[in-house]
């Protein structure tokens, strides 16, 4: 199956017009020794063959009945409206909105997305999206380095371990030194922070909720950091937590960044997701990537365009604020639809439902004999469970019951043996949670 609208007759007419005798003549600028006759892959298939092939491949995947795991990718409910709308070709087959007059749909949806992100984070400006939470953290740190002209950063140890790995990859070639802040995963150690903070750090990166699920109280530190003309960056893996929690803006954060996959984007085995980045006004011109701004057209109507493009790679080249060209625009449109649909009431009850469900599990695990939780852990929808039962045994039991859960913290944080991350969202039913408790009991 192919998608070429030509007939043989037309191909010949076209060849004649351009003065070539065959299609092969079109490849003549390529030296003969660099040409190939064919690629060593299979022949094409008809649509029905393709559908059958991929339905067979899909069946090799075995779904979990219950997902009690987040750790940066969350199992949230996706309202039917989203697929219906982003399935419209006008959204998904368009390019980056270079021609504003035929792209108001994309542009306004992104302007609304920017408003939502700025609102949730308590910031003055959001960009039009980045790839994911990990790369948005890298972009935020680069902004801080360019803004402060300092070459060293302090990073909380309990940010998402994959974000930490990506940050190291990005910082190493540009010679930025990463100093790790050995915080406590269950409360923000302000005294220790005061001791370790130095004026030559460009920024401090903190995650809240952190990878252990803890909501940190770091409201005291922004003054310390700002006194040294440095920046406070908050990385967030679970943007829905901001429906309940005080916004980064109110905590004195300068750049909020992270992952907004929770806003109507499927798990899809890790991507594509949606990176967000938002900042205070004075940093706006250092933002990476696309920005949509409001303006007027010649009829004096309010319209939307890509703006502040002088920051961008196609104009500034090596001096650009980032190399970003394609972003994750359609994921941002999904988020825009999700947030519009849920609205004030939906988002608040969604946030509360996440907490209610996870607390229900937390309180029930507390009652078990061989499992412990951290007393008084302040969490949104994930928390830490401790048990002496061997991981292999837990894993096997959960797999047998089609449950995905118990992320072993030891994997990334060696001394946290027997500590596991458990997540519950609004998408987990009461029956699922009851069943999970029953399965854990059977392990005792």
């Amino acid at each position: 199956m192919t998608y070429f609208p030509h007939s043989e007759k037309e191909i010949n007419e076209m060849l004649e017009k351009i003065g070539k005798s065959s299609l092969e003549d079109l490849v003549l600028p390529i030296p003969e020794k660099f040409r190939i006759k064919e690629i060593d892959i299979e022949n094409g298939k008809t649509e029905v063959e393709v559908v059958n092939l991929f339905s067979k491949i899909a069946k090799k995947n075995k779904e979990y009945k219950s997902i009690f795991l987040g750790a940066g990718a969350y199992n949230h409910f996706i309202p039917a409206v989203i697929d219906e709308i982003v399935g419209r070709q006008e959204f998904y087959t368009a390019y980056t909105p270079y021609q504003a007059e035929v792209s108001q749909g994309t542009l306004q949806a992104i302007f609304e997305y920017q408003t939502y992100i700025a609102t949730l984070t308590g910031m003055d400006a959001s960009n039009a999206s980045l790839y994911d939470g990990a790369t948005s953290l890298c972009e935020a740190v680069i902004m801080a380095i360019n803004h402060t002209k300092k070459n060293k950063i302090l990073v909380d140890r309990f940010i998402h371990p994959e974000y930490m790995k990506v940050l190291k990859t990005y910082m190493n070639p540009i010679g930025v030194e990463i100093v790790i802040f050995e915080n406590n995963p269950f409360y923000f150690d302000i005294d220790k922070f005061k001791k370790e903070w130095k004026s030559d750090f460009a920024c401090f990166v903190v995650a809240s909720p952190n990878f252990f699920g803890t909501i940190y109280d770091f409201s005291e530190i922004s003054n310390i950091i700002h006194n040294d003309k440095s920046l406070l960056i908050q990385s967030i893996t679970e943007i829905l937590s901001l429906t309940i929690l005080k916004s980064p803006g109110k905590l004195g954060v300068d750049i909020a960044c992270g992952e907004s996959q929770s806003l109507g984007i499927p798990l899809s085995f890790g991507g594509p997701y949606l990176g967000f980045i938002a900042c205070k006004k004075d940093l706006m011109r250092k933002l990476p990537g696309r920005l949509v701004g409001q303006t007027k057209d010649r009829d004096n109507n309010i319209v939307y365009v890509l703006t502040l493009t002088a920051r961008e790679q196609h104009i500034r080249r090596e001096l650009a604020s980032s190399n970003i060209c394609s972003n994750h625009g359609l994921c941002a449109t999904r988020a825009s639809i999700y947030l519009s649909l849920l609205g004030k009431t939906g988002l608040k009850t969604c946030g509360l439902k996440n907490i209610e469900n996870s607390k229900y599990l937390y309180n029930n695990i507390k009652k078990l004999n061989k499992f412990r939780v951290i007393e008084n852990q302040a969490f949104f929808n994930e928390f830490v469970v401790i048990t002496d039962i061997k991981y292999d045994k837990i894993k096997e039991k959960l797999e047998d019951n089609d449950i995905l859960s118990f992320y072993p913290m030891e994997k990334d944080f060696k001394e946290y043996k027997n500590h596991y991350l458990v997540t519950v969202t609004e998408n987990n039913s009461k029956e699922e949670i009851e069943n999970f408790i029953k399965v854990l009991k059977e392990l005792e």
């Binding site: 199956m1 192919t2 092969e24 079109l26 660099f34 064919e38 299979e42 022949n43 094409g44 393709v50 339905s55 995947n61 940066g72 990718a73 709308i85 419209r88 006008e90 959204f91 087959t93 390019y95 909105p97 270079y98 021609q99 007059e101 035929v102 108001q104 949806a109 609304e112 408003t115 700025a118 790369t135 990506v166 190493n172 070639p173 309940i244 929690l245 899809s268 085995f269 991507g271 594509p272 057209d297 009829d299 309010i302 939307y304 196609h314 190399n323 394609s326 972003n327 625009g329 994921c331 941002a332 449109t333 519009s340 609205g343 004030k344 009850t349 439902k353 907490i355 209610e356 852990q377």
Partner: protein, 484 residues
Amino acid sequence: MKDMNLIFEKNNNTISSYKFNLTKNEKEIIDHIPQNLIDLEEKVLPDVSEIEVVRHFIRLSNKNYGVDTGFYPLGSCTMKYNPKVNEKIAKNELFLNFHPYSDNKRVQGILEVMYNCKEDLKKITGMDEITLSPCAGAHGELTALFVINAYFKHKKENRPYILVPDSSHGTNPASASMAGFKVITVKSDSNGFVDLNDLRAKATEEVACFMLTNPNTLGLYEKNIEEIVKICHSKDIQLYYDGANLNAILGISRPGDTGFNAVHLNLHKSFSTPHGGGGPGAGPVGVKKHLSEFLPNENVYFENDTFYLKENSKFSIGKVREFYCNFSVVLKAYIYIKTLGKDGLRKSGLLALLNANYLATLLKEKFSLATKDHIMHEFVISLDKECHDYGITIMDFAKRILDYGYHAPTVSFPLIVHNCLMIEPTETESKNILEEFASVMKNILEEAKNSPDLLKNAPQNTPIKRADEVMAARQPILKYTENF
């Protein structure tokens, strides 16, 4: 400025607000979180009914132009048709609902798609190893430059420079900067090819990489490619293939055979996955053997009848993103490869060349092409003279194209040609469309001569009139606020 069409202006606290049922009261639910960290204060969020949300976004979609609407000849963007079967298969919940930390045994189908896609892309590009991790073309460039940086560090060679042609995509120098390199620009000669003397002068042992787009942004296949390869390889300069224009050589030639050491692909260009109004795409990177141990650590493998993801090399640059890849994009690209197969892919390359050459021939009758030589999959026309003679701007010309129901080509790029349009029709357009477009272009040229106001006042037939970009940048309004 208050835009009454924004969703935020439709807030009416409907009785049908979306909601989740809670069993406990609010206070009790959040009593484990310190009061000073909570903020349930009403934020600027709308509260409108489902039907209003749906109509709002349908109305927005009606103001958009996509490939399914019509001809979209954006140069270097490869706006080909996005097959519907790809979209449908990618929506299968057995592909969509898997957490990235799922057990290997449960995601054998997903891993099979990744692995086989990777293997096919190796064969298509002639590279020894591929990572599917990068999220976009620019991310692929950055990944490859991290790899090249690690390669020379490992060899204990100090190579702080990257060469890019003056006709290159802006992402090349921007990626080089982000990867910690300094950029040196190589000039094009008067015919639009890499100036070999300039390249020779700049290709020193302090240069890590030469980033080349081939065919370049003028649509020309570098006629001195053999010499370019020789110059670079004699100094161990890594030759990088910017895959933005791979569609021109798909099934015809492989960067790996030509002498390129690293390549990125844009699955959202050459392999038909949709652009989504800006993304998401995917930018896999392929490298030759000597670079493969520096690739991002996690990759997909097949051994003992099992597919799995594994962290593989102690020399790796590390991770470049969270989790492994933009799976649903990779899936759609792989479906495309399976659908077209070897003959289809080769034919798509040939017809992309045919369409570009046909359209160029039709336009040559009235327009001046920026290049004299045989073009490949895209071409650039210069309207410099017309702009001067008729007192119009290149933007006026582009906006007038919108009036005729087409998307405009890429405007004012590459930067080395003044007042230009860069046109890439792709293989999925018919002879008929190309002829119609050519005649519209000629019409507009007549209009420019006889009634330039038609261009200056364009567009008239679009959902909005000409947008004021200068005003937008002067005092940026990047979000809605209640009191404008």
